[in-house]
C-alpha cells in the first residue's frame, strides 16, 4: 500500500516515449506550458522529475513562453541538503499549472537568510518562503521527566520559528510555509516516550500541535510533512545513511511524494485546488450495474465486503461535500434507472439532493463533463472525475486534459484511499463560506427555477429580498478575501493575485480604498461575493486595481451596486475620476465589456486585448436595484488622502 503514495499511483503511468517528448520541448517554438504540464501529470520518479525540471530550466533560460503556467517564486530555506528536492519541486509544480522559480540560498543558512534584510531570499522578494526544516533544525534540549525544562525548550523552539516568521514578514513580506516535524523512530523508553515530558517524541508532538495552530492562525501556511512521513512510515522516512552521506533530510524514494505535497500547497495558495467531484455510478459508488442488476442486485452497504468498499467511497464523497466540495454525477445510464438506488436503496449514504448536477444519459462522458462545468459556471480545471472504467478515464484525459482523473486500483476497497491520496482538494485555509459552498450551488439551481417562474428579471430580483453589505478589508474577512483574490478566474477584471500579507497590508494602507461585499437573500447567506481594491493614482483619481465577483451572483446588478458604493466614497473625499483595466486571460472573457456596461469610456486598447477605461464621476448614472444596502466602515478624507 505504501507504493500508492511513493509512486503517486493515482497518476497515469509515464508514456513510453517520455524521453522523446522531453526532447520535443527543446525543439518546440511556441508556448510549451501545456506540454510541460502534460508530462508532469504522470507518475514521474525522482530521475524523471529531475529530467523534466532540467528541460523546464533550459526552456526558461532560452526565454521560451511557459504559458499557461502561472509564475510563483518560492524561496526554500533548509537545515539540510535540498538539491535533490528542488528539481522535483519545479517539475511537480508544473503538474498543478505553476511555473515555479526556486530561490535556494546556501546550505543551512536559515536564520541568516531570514534575519538579514538584504539576504538572497529577502532580496528576491519571493511570493512565499518554505521553511524546509526537519527536527534537527530545532534548538531542542532533552530533559527527560522535567516538565519545567521541557516547557522552556518548547518555548525556545517556538520562539525560534516565530523569529523566522517575523523576520521574513518585516524584510520581504512573503507568505511563510512551515513544515511539521517528523519524529525519528529512535526512542529511550519505548511507549513511555510519548507520555514523558522532555523526550524527543514528546517535544516534537507538542511543537507540531502548537505550530499547526499558530501558523494557520497568523494567516501563514502549514505543510504537514510529519503527516506524510507517518503515512508512509517513519522507519523508512528517516534514513540515517542518506543523512550521514549528504545531509539529505529523508529517504530519496519519498522525494516525489514530498514535492507533490509542496506543489499542492503552492497551487492551493494560488487558488488552483479543485472544487467539484464528479462520480460515476456503476461499480464506482455501488458494486454492479444498476441497469442489469436492479436496486436489489447492486452491492452497497454493510455486511458485504464489496458493498462496504463502495459505501466508503460514498462516505468520503459525503464528507467532502460537507467541507464544501460540490458533487455531481456523470453516468452512462437511463436517467430514471440511475436515480432509482438513491430513492429506493435503504443503505445508500448519498441522496439525490447531495448533487448539484445529475447527468445520466447515453452521451459520451467528455460532453457530459463539459455540460457539468457549464451548468456550475466553473472551469474544467476545477473538476475531478472518479470512474472505475479505464476506457472512460482515458477518453476524458485525452479529450479534456484539464480534468483530473485518478487512476484506480483493481480492488474497490482502495478507491476511497486513492481519491484521498491524490489531494485534489488541498486547501490552505478554511472559512465559513467553504462550509456552505456545496449548498450554494444547489441554491443557484433553485434560483434559476424561480427566475423562470417570475418572468421579468426585475420582479425576480425583488422577490429575492436581497441584502448587500459593504465593508473595507479587515482581519475578519481577510482569509476569504485572499481566497477570492486567488481563486476567481471568470468575473475578474485584472486577475491580480495577492497573498495574505499583501492583503493585510492593504487594511492599513492610507492610499487604498477596499471593499469586501457580502450578499444574502431568501434562500440563504451567500457570504462574501465581491472584492474591490482601488488605489489612489493622483488626488482626484482612483485606479481600480482589482474588481472581482463570484459568478454565483451574476445577473443581480451587484456590479452596479458596487460601483454606486465606490462612487459614494469617491465623492466624499473629492475623487472625481475612476480608471479601470481589463486584462484578458483565457478565463475572463465574461467581463470584457464590464466597464462599458457600467458607463466607462474606453481610453486605450492594446493588441493583447488589454483595455483601459475611465469614468468621470459627475457623468455617472447610478442604477437603482431592489436591494437593502448596508454600508459599514468609514473612509474619511484623512485615511484615503493621507499619502
Amino acid at each position: 500500500m505504501k507504493t500508492l503514495f511513493t509512486e503517486l499511483r493515482w497518476l497515469p503511468t509515464v508514456p513510453e516515449n517520455f524521453g522523446i517528448l522531453l526532447k520535443a520541448l527543446e525543439t518546440s517554438s511556441g508556448p510549451i506550458g501545456r506540454n510541460i504540464q502534460f508530462l508532469a501529470a504522470h507518475r514521474l520518479d525522482l530521475n524523471q522529475l529531475t529530467r523534466l525540471a532540467k528541460a523546464i530550466g533550459k526552456a526558461k533560460s532560452e526565454g521560451k513562453q511557459l504559458e499557461p503556467l502561472v509564475k510563483f517564486k518560492l524561496a526554500v530555506v533548509s537545515n539540510s541538503t535540498i538539491d535533490l528536492i528542488v528539481p522535483a519541486l519545479v517539475a511537480s509544480a508544473a503538474r498543478y499549472g505553476i511555473a515555479l522559480d526556486v530561490i535556494q540560498p546556501s546550505y543551512d543558512q536559515v536564520a541568516q537568510e531570514a534575519l538579514t534584510p538584504n539576504s538572497r531570499v529577502n532580496n528576491a522578494k519571493p511570493d512565499a518562503v518554505l521553511f524546509a526544516l526537519d527536527y534537527r533544525a530545532l534548538p531542542l534540549k532533552f530533559s527527560v521527566g522535567d516538565s519545567t525544562a521541557c516547557n522552556a525548550s518548547l518555548e525556545d523552539a517556538m520562539s525560534y520559528l516565530q523569529m523566522l516568521q517575523t523576520a521574513i514578514k518585516s524584510n520581504c513580506g512573503a507568505l511563510c510555509i512551515f513544515q511539521t516535524f517528523a519524529a525519528p523512530p529512535e526512542n529511550l523508553f519505548g511507549s513511555l516516550d510519548r507520555a514523558l515530558p522532555g523526550t524527543q517524541r514528546y517535544l516534537l508532538d507538542s511543537i507540531n500541535r502548537q505550530l499547526a495552530v499558530s501558523a494557520v492562525a497568523s494567516g501563514d501556511v502549514l505543510f504537514d510533512v510529519a503527516g506524510i512521513a507517518e503515512t508512509v512510515g517513519l522507519a523508512d522516512w528517516h534514513n540515517p545513511r542518506s543523512w550521514n552521506m549528504a545531509k539529505i533530510p529523508f529517504a530519496e524514494e519519498f522525494v516525489p511524494l514530498y514535492a507533490d505535497g509542496a506543489a499542492r500547497i503552492v497551487a492551493a495558495i494560488r487558488g488552483k485546488s479543485r472544487r467539484v467531484l464528479i462520480l460515476d455510478l456503476d461499480n464506482t459508488i455501488w458494486g454492479g450495474v444498476i441497469g442489469d442488476d436492479g436496486v436489489e442486485g447492486i452491492k452497497v452497504g454493510q455486511g458485504d465486503a464489496g458493498g462496504e468498499a463502495h459505501l466508503a467511497v460514498q462516505k468520503l464523497a459525503l464528507d467532502l461535500r460537507q467541507r464544501g466540495i460540490v458533487l455531481a454525477v456523470s453516468s452512462k445510464n437511463t436517467d430514471e434507472v440511475a436515480r432509482a438506488p438513491f430513492i429506493h436503496h435503504p443503505e445508500m449514504l448519498l441522496k439525490l439532493d447531495h448533487f448539484a448536477v445529475f447527468q445520466a444519459n447515453w452521451n459520451d462522458k467528455a460532453s457530459n463533463i463539459v455540460a457539468i462545468a457549464e451548468e456550475l459556471s466553473l472551469g474544467l480545471d476545477a473538476l475531478v472525475l472518479l470512474d472505475d472504467n479505464p476506457a472512460e478515464r482515458g477518453l476524458v484525459r485525452s479529450l479534456l486534459p484539464q480534468v483530473a482523473v485518478p487512476e484506480l486500483p483493481d480492488d474497490p476497497a482502495d478507491y476511497a484511499r486513492t481519491l484521498s491520496a491524490a489531494g485534489y482538494f488541498e486547501a490552505v485555509s478554511f472559512t465559513a463560506e467553504d462550509l456552505k459552498r456545496a449548498d450554494f450551488y444547489q441554491e443557484s439551481a433553485k434560483r434559476a427555477t424561480m427566475m423562470k417562474q417570475h418572468g421579468g428579471v426585475e420582479a425576480y430580483l425583488a422577490s429575492l429580498d436581497m441584502t448587500i453589505t459593504f465593508q473595507p478589508f479587515d482581519a475578519t474577512g481577510r482569509k476569504r478575501i485572499v481566497q477570492l483574490i486567488n481563486k476567481s478566474n471568470q468575473y475578474n477584471l485584472t486577475t491580480r493575485r495577492y497573498t495574505d500579507p499583501e492583503v493585510a497590508a492593504l487594511e492599513n494602507d492610507p492610499s487604498a480604498f477596499t471593499l469586501q461585499v457580502r450578499l444574502a437573500d431568501i434562500f440563504g447567506d451567500l457570504g462574501m461575493i465581491s472584492v474591490v481594491i482601488c488605489r489612489l493614482f493622483d488626488r482626484v483619481t482612483w485606479e481600480i486595481d482589482t474588481w472581482l465577483m463570484s459568478c454565483r451572483v451574476l445577473g443581480r446588478k451587484v456590479e452596479n451596486l458596487v460601483l454606486n458604493e465606490i462612487i459614494k466614497h469617491a465623492r466624499a473625499i473629492g475623487v472625481s475620476r475612476l480608471t479601470g483595466t481589463y486584462r484578458p486571460t483565457s478565463r475572463n472573457e465574461l467581463v470584457k465589456d464590464h466597464y462599458a456596461k457600467l458607463g466607462f469610456k474606453k481610453v486605450t486598447e492594446e493588441n493583447t486585448g488589454l483595455t483601459r477605461w475611465e469614468l468621470m464621476i459627475e457623468e455617472a448614472k447610478l442604477e437603482e436595484a431592489p436591494v437593502k444596502i448596508i454600508s459599514q466602515g468609514v473612509f474619511t478624507e484623512d485615511r484615503v488622502l493621507a499619502s
Binding site: Q48, T50, K54, L84, S242, N244, M245, A246, E252, E253
Partner: protein, 79 residues
C-alpha cells in the same frame, strides 16, 4: 544474472539518471566520463541501482566505489 546482463541494466539506469540516451557504460568508466555525474546525482544513481537490482549497499561500500566496474562487481556479488 550474468555480467553482460548487469551492464545492460546499468546502461539503462545511467540513461535514466543522467538523462542521456547515448550513454553506454563500461567497466573503466568513472565520474569524469559522464556529464552531470557529481556527488548529488551519484546519490540518485545509487538509489536507482538499489531499486533496480533490489540490493542495498552500506555507507562504506558506497564510499569505496571508484568506477563502474566496482559497481558491477558489487551487484554481481549480491544477485
Amino acid at each position: 544474472m550474468g555480467r553482460a546482463g548487469i551492464y545492460e541494466q546499468l546502461t539503462q539506469v545511467f540513461r535514466d539518471v543522467f538523462g542521456d540516451d547515448s550513454i553506454k557504460v563500461t567497466p573503466e568508466m568513472t565520474a569524469k566520463d559522464v556529464e552531470g555525474w557529481d556527488s548529488l546525482s551519484n546519490i540518485r544513481l545509487i538509489v536507482t541501482i538499489e531499486k533496480t537490482f533490489k540490493v542495498k549497499f552500506t555507507t562504506s561500500e558506497i564510499g569505496k566505489l571508484e568506477k563502474v566496474g566496482d559497481l558491477a562487481a558489487l551487484i554481481e556479488e549480491r544477485c
